[in-house]
Symmetry: C2
Subunit: 552 residues, 2 copies
Amino acid sequence: MNQQLKKIILSTFVLLFASQLSAQDFYNTQTRDKWLKIAKDNQPKLVEKLKYPVSLADITADASAFQGYKTTKGKDIQTLYTTSLKKQSGNVIDFGEHLTGYFTFSLQTLNSTADAPVRLKFTFGEVPSEVSVPFDPYTGGLSRAWLQDEVVTVTEFPATITIPRRLAFRYVKIEVLGSSPYFDFVLNDCFIKATTSVSSLPAPLASTTPEIFSKIDKVALNTLKECMQTVFEDGPKRDRRLWIGDVVLESQANMYSFKEHTLTKRCLYLLAGLAQEDGFLYSNVFETPVPHAQEKSPFLFDYSLLYNVALKEYLGATGDKETAEDLWPVAKRQMDNISKYLDKDGVFNAAQAAKDGWWLFVDWNDKLDRQASLQGIMIYSMKETLALAKMIGKEKEVNQLSGLITKMSNGAKTKLFEKKLGLFVSGASHQVSYASQSWLVLAGVLKDNENQKVLANLQKYNEAVKPGAPYMYHYYVQALINCGLTNDAKSIVETYWGGMVNKGADTFWEVYDPTNEKLSPYGFYPMNSYCHAWSCTATYFIRKYPNIFQKQ
Amino acid sequence: MNQQLKKIILSTFVLLFASQLSAQDFYNTQTRDKWLKIAKDNQPKLVEKLKYPVSLADITADASAFQGYKTTKGKDIQTLYTTSLKKQSGNVIDFGEHLTGYFTFSLQTLNSTADAPVRLKFTFGEVPSEVSVPFDPYTGGLSRAWLQDEVVTVTEFPATITIPRRLAFRYVKIEVLGSSPYFDFVLNDCFIKATTSVSSLPAPLASTTPEIFSKIDKVALNTLKECMQTVFEDGPKRDRRLWIGDVVLESQANMYSFKEHTLTKRCLYLLAGLAQEDGFLYSNVFETPVPHAQEKSPFLFDYSLLYNVALKEYLGATGDKETAEDLWPVAKRQMDNISKYLDKDGVFNAAQAAKDGWWLFVDWNDKLDRQASLQGIMIYSMKETLALAKMIGKEKEVNQLSGLITKMSNGAKTKLFEKKLGLFVSGASHQVSYASQSWLVLAGVLKDNENQKVLANLQKYNEAVKPGAPYMYHYYVQALINCGLTNDAKSIVETYWGGMVNKGADTFWEVYDPTNEKLSPYGFYPMNSYCHAWSCTATYFIRKYPNIFQKQ
């Protein structure tokens, strides 16, 4: 064989090996299968309860009520069951609480024989506006099919029919779209087989707890309970997925309330088993028909980092080192992204990352510049990861982190902190926002007393971009608590989460702007999820910090 | 005991007995149970076949086409299965033939992960207009729910979903009412599990049969096959009941084609077992959830009489004396109504009967005066009943009939026949109609040559009220044949049923007026049944009278 030929053969082998390497799974199939099996083995059996309506509801247009609809108790539910449904078309049933599950109704004829099918429309609402506002012509950006209106043809009497899709609601509007003039009928029964994986009540709050925090806690627990199904869902109405950002908050709220730690374990394993081939995590996964991730979805950078926080907190709450060690390679791998878009000063080049297709979420807020927030999340997640590593003796495996933390902290202090304002700024426009301050305070870039000053300055800075949703409010409250501004934290929980309670919330909402009740990231406010995981953390604060929230 | 007390006790007993008698069932429970068991034992096992669409259909507005919609073959069906359904919203699938059964479809994603449910609307049509005309706002008189549009939420991919209600259609329009902008999908499969109780094909027609009658026969057989399910239904789309008027015609068409006589037996027993308490028959019965009649429905006089014709014809076709004898008490009982509204001349007081709540049907035609037709139906049914009695040696049990036939025939001749016109007239307005002439010809009131003259005169009498639907056309054709006007009979079948064929009928329609294609008894023409039992009898004529219809 001549040298030329040898060279060609060798280079061909190298190329083949390299292409194999690039297509190789970061975690091998065996590991993934094991992780997915553990996820499956830890799937909770749902607790099912039959729940019946408590009354009819009168919903009327009222500009002073939440979203313009005022709800008062209507007629006794027996009226529904015993009076012609034709004469009650448009009536709204009230189940008295937010429930998630499968809706069943029964029809029977009234004094004559059914000679034709009946066409009914059921509209299920988490809040009164959902059963009041017309859905069509539809203006929203997400699938119209999330809206919970179902048209059912009943061909036989008596009938007992279960609507196939799982629903999440408190209110049900019933409309008769078609019926025979030759017979009448009643809806003589209806119920929901409500499901949750929560099996027990948490400890009661201290008797000294102010009423508003008791109320907030109750609504927060309901929110969490409803979202806890066979995974921690983001919302039982929409979109019912396991998202890292939500599970981080839900699992921590769960630690201080229901303590269903196997659900956390299941979710951590599910996310790991379904990670990208390169080892980085998908932001969310689906359970059915088989567990799978959203292919071709953009890589959500901040969520991938926060996975490590959830794993560390899980270990802290349970002492389950086996799980932490088993999933450590996943946590460790997420750190490999940290340095990809750092400039020479250790500052995150958010614009370039976004341009390259990374999704930088931070908050639902179109106006928000995300650079400084991400800088904070990156430092924060490195510190948490380092803490996790220490708990399981893996520091050496991530010995790059200390240097990176220092470099990025310096970068934040020198490039993102505007001394004359005493505030962090973000992006080319030097934007000041609650998100940037909160995350860089949580990251501990400055000293404690400096952090306190930052958050005090923030509150005086009227132009600061405010949080867009409870998710960001959570991290702001946590930042306030961390730097000792407990009264401010208390006040935010009281006014923000308490504001929802005072507006009639049974569960906390995905998006809540006290000044714009119809705000929606989806172009149509009934599309919002009105029972949303990331909004449940008021109970976490109230229960984790009894000295702040459970004393008068 | 003194006499006074004895009297009181006795009269109390008499009253009790009388009240018991009046509440007594004409047929006892044991008999009814036996009849219903025989009906059940003779329930056919449905023949199920999976049928797939043959192509897409292009349906366009065209004033010259039937009901204003022209259908041409559209794209290959593979286009549907392989192209984004979003991009095909509104497309119509063509199954190539009228089918009855359960529709199943499958969806799968196209190149990405489903992140939201999908909302689809399927509209099923027997004729093109049904998938073209908006159903709402609904203007019809019967239940809107008969219209076959179903809204389905698909929450999981891949999905295979069967629409719960049974459907009858050739065309299916598919609309995407809601979907996520983040993924696409295809309808990768659909089919109907088509059902009928017809298990074999009838003998082919003679090779000499003119093409138009071959075509008419095929469409008529399809109509009958589609209506033959676990009873002879009136229409598989609407209203799917067993009506006496329809079964009389269907069972006779069946005798000359599919010969599924056990279905006839089942239907005769079902009607008998569910008769009114006073022994008279309900006009129609339902099979599910348990066999039952339409309580409080008006008594349909003509249908009750025609039951006897079906029983007699069944006996003639099968020689099944056991059934005829078993059901003879029912036939005999129907005759007890004949004399209730006769005047001294033996003429039926239709106005009074109708006023008292009897339903006199005869035909779908608001303008029709029904007196003379009923006079004919009564005489005809008595003659048929007498023939039945003779076949099973029961003449003595109905020895009143001969006298009544004579009396009513004389009444018809002297009071309803207008000599100067040479036509029968009906009611106070002396109305001339095809219905009156047909039924009084079938009743054989006049001599054969006189009957022929009547029908000849009728054709020249432009003001005569014409038949409203194929049901009445059937009896008119039979009358023409009976009195030897076979060319006229042939011409009616060719032009009336042939007219539907030429307008694209796959099955024959409940109502057909050549001059008004949108005629409907229900206020909205898509509500019409376009595959209707009583319209199937063209095959009966073509096959029973080969000399008329199967020769060039």
